[in-house]
């Protein structure tokens, strides 16, 4: 198996426990800080895919039934063969086909903003995609088969034990840090977040008050980076009551005496001033973490 790029490829060695970001250094030496796909998102993606599969099967069934009726039941055999093959290929190759696509994600994963990557950071090969999806038999269909089987007495106990045993594979992702399913383990893959983002407008542009309202040195030294990012989020969400509450907190904190302007305008101006101050200090080698960071 070619593992091109395994040596010069990125290393995945994130440390902090409970943290979902993983160090992922590209050959150019930049850490992409990937975030792993969490159990809930992965389960949601899977449910979406199953729904799509079931709907597709129903559509195929209806269409073939319609064709049969139109042809007055002459092609029963042909229709049965086509139906069987389509059902088989859908069940076995739906996931594989989508994950071999450049985006390496099924429709469910795309909706949830996830994608499959090779754990070493190298190429995601067709073999790996095949392995991770063939293992679904073990993780999904085995527990299902125990779930639908029935029996009395000893049989019932055997089925219960089987269900518990196969449940280990189903819930495997919950027991490891990188949320690997058995298929990921065997294929050497993992699922990470790779959402498409739009470039948001720069909040320091475009406001009439930016650069007009002036703040004193002490006023822009009231906060650190953490507060700046909270402020950014508040401004981007632009929720009126929150804006007012935050603006009042900041006015009180810095003892604002200037002209009365609207909350959003005031916050935008303060954001620009604070960011300017913090970025300047960062250029001189000090990144002020939060408002308690004195130095």
């Amino acid at each position: 198996m070619s593992r091109a790029g395994a040596q010069d490829g990125p290393r995945t060695a994130g440390r902090a426990p409970q943290d979902t970001t993983r160090e992922f250094v590209t050959p150019e030496g930049v850490d992409l800080r990937l975030r792993i796909g969490e159990a809930g998102e992965r389960a949601a993606a899977f449910v979406i895919d199953v729904v799509i599969l079931v709907v597709a099967l129903i559509v195929v069934s209806i269409v073939s039934a319609g064709v049969l009726l139109a042809s007055q039941l002459r092609g029963v055999e042909m229709a049965a063969i086509v139906w069987l093959l389509i059902a088989f290929f859908l069940r076995s190759f739906y996931f594989m086909a989508f994950e071999m696509h450049p985006r390496a994600a099924t429709p469910g994963k795309r909706i949830m903003g996830l994608r499959v990557i090779a754990r070493g950071g190298g190429r995601l090969t067709a073999d790996a995609v095949f392995a991770r999806n063939a293992l679904r038999e073990l993780e999904v269909f085995l527990p299902l088969s125990f779930l639908v089987s029935q029996g009395d007495g000893i049989d019932a106990w055997v089925i219960l034990l089987g269900l518990i045993w196969s449940g280990i594979f189903l819930f495997f992702p919950l027991f490891n840090r990188d949320r690997l399913r058995v298929g990921d383990l065997v294929a050497g893959t993992m699922v990470v977040k790779a959402p498409r983002r739009k470039l948001p407008p720069d909040l320091a542009d475009e406001r009439p008050t930016v650069g007009v309202l002036s703040f004193t040195q002490a006023q822009v030294d009231a906060y650190g980076v953490k507060e700046l990012h909270v402020l950014e989020e508040v401004l981007r969400r632009a929720d009126k009551p929150t804006l007012r509450a935050v603006a009042e907190r900041i006015r009180a904190k810095i003892g604002w005496q200037g002209e009365p302007v609207e909350d959003a305008e005031f916050l935008a101006a303060y954001y620009a001033a604070l960011r300017g101050r913090l970025e300047t200090r960062m250029l001189f080698g000090h990144r002020r973490r939060d408002k308690f960071d004195k130095a």
Binding site: V30, A126, D202
Partner: protein
């Protein structure tokens, strides 16, 4: 617009066009295949990717605009996987697959294949001996929907008829068997992860059914004929299932005895090698389905059936195990 007062604003203004260009190219490439990009665009993409990466490093050290940094991280991640995570479609995978990769992978699993074969044969022998001694054992090994009336209560004439006559819905049944067998093969492969034992169980179960069938026909003096009926496609099909079992064993074995590497990387290496075998197994099962659906209908003579069986088996053996030049 207010003039750009912050360094980070000027930084963004200077590079934004490049990022947008990269984003547009990626959207185009991800929408379909890389073939949708023109030659110039393909050459442009890695350059834009590297400049976006350097923008990301710079942004992290001079800008505190979280929205911008998030955007650059997602853009760089997408571009990274486009540039380095070379896509391999199933079609591209086919190049070199049949000439080299698949036979090499199968050959590499020869020990597991022998074990898998031995377990299947054990099942055959046990079932044949039991059914020969007491025909009622047949019902224990073969589910009635697969038997289709071919059980110890059937007459020799009926059994003979099942070997040579056409039935309605035969091709439907062949398709059903192909999908069923492919599912069983995938299952045998996947179960391997559960420390080999379930795969062994599945192989022995398969062997038991086979042995029970053969013993039933043999008890009516139809052993040779039934063998021909079965082996014309069975040589390919049973080989494929034995290989699927072997692929499963190799994964389970790597998990239990990882050797010098870590358990995780041993499992991953074994998994990818076994996956190569399995892709081929699905192809083999498809061929077996064709042989069963078409070949068995067309060929009625026992000798010819046996000849085809022997020929296909020796072809597979030669294809997998004969030494060949490494490219």
């Amino acid at each position: 617009m207010a003039e750009l007062v912050l360094k980070s604003q000027r930084f963004r203004a200077e590079r934004e066009a490049d990022w947008r260009r990269l984003e547009a190219l990626l959207a185009k490439a991800e929408g379909g295949s890389a073939a949708r990009l023109s030659r110039e665009e393909l050459l442009e993409l890695p350059v834009l990717y590297r400049s976006a990466l350097s923008s990301l490093s710079v942004a992290r050290s001079i800008s505190l605009d979280q929205g911008l940094i998030d955007y650059l991280e997602s853009l760089c991640t997408r571009a990274y996987f486009f540039v380095y995570g070379a896509r391999s479609t199933l079609l591209a995978r086919m190049g070199g697959f049949f000439t080299h990769d698949w036979p090499a992978a199968v050959k590499g699993l020869w020990r597991e294949t022998l074990v898998s074969l031995a377990i299947t044969l054990l099942g055959v022998v046990v079932a044949a001996a039991l059914v020969a001694g007491d025909p009622d054992w047949f019902y224990a090994f073969v589910p009635s929907e697969l038997a289709g009336g071919r059980d110890p209560s059937a007459s020799a004439a009926f059994l003979r008829a099942t070997l040579y006559d056409d039935h309605d819905g035969k091709s439907v049944f062949a398709t059903f068997l192909f999908t069923h067998n492919a599912q069983v093969a995938l299952f045998a492969f996947a179960l391997g992860f559960a420390l080999c034992l379930p795969t062994a169980g599945l192989m022995i179960h398969n062997g038991l059914m086979l042995g029970a069938f053969l013993a039933l026909f043999a008890s009516h003096g139809l052993g040779l004929e039934a063998g021909g009926w079965l082996m014309i496609h069975g040589a390919t099909e049973l080989f494929a299932i034995v290989l699927a079992g072997a692929a499963g064993f190799s994964i389970g074995w790597a998990v239990v005895f990882p050797g010098e590497t870590s358990r995780m990387s041993a499992a991953a290496a074994a998994g990818r090698r076994a996956a190569v075998v399995m892709i081929g197994v699905v192809v083999m099962l498809f061929l077996a389905g064709l042989l069963e659906g078409i070949g068995r209908q067309a060929v009625r003579a026992d000798a010819l059936r046996w000849t085809i069986a022997a020929a296909s088996l020796s072809l597979w053996l030669a294809y997998f195990y004969l030494p060949r030049k490494t490219p």
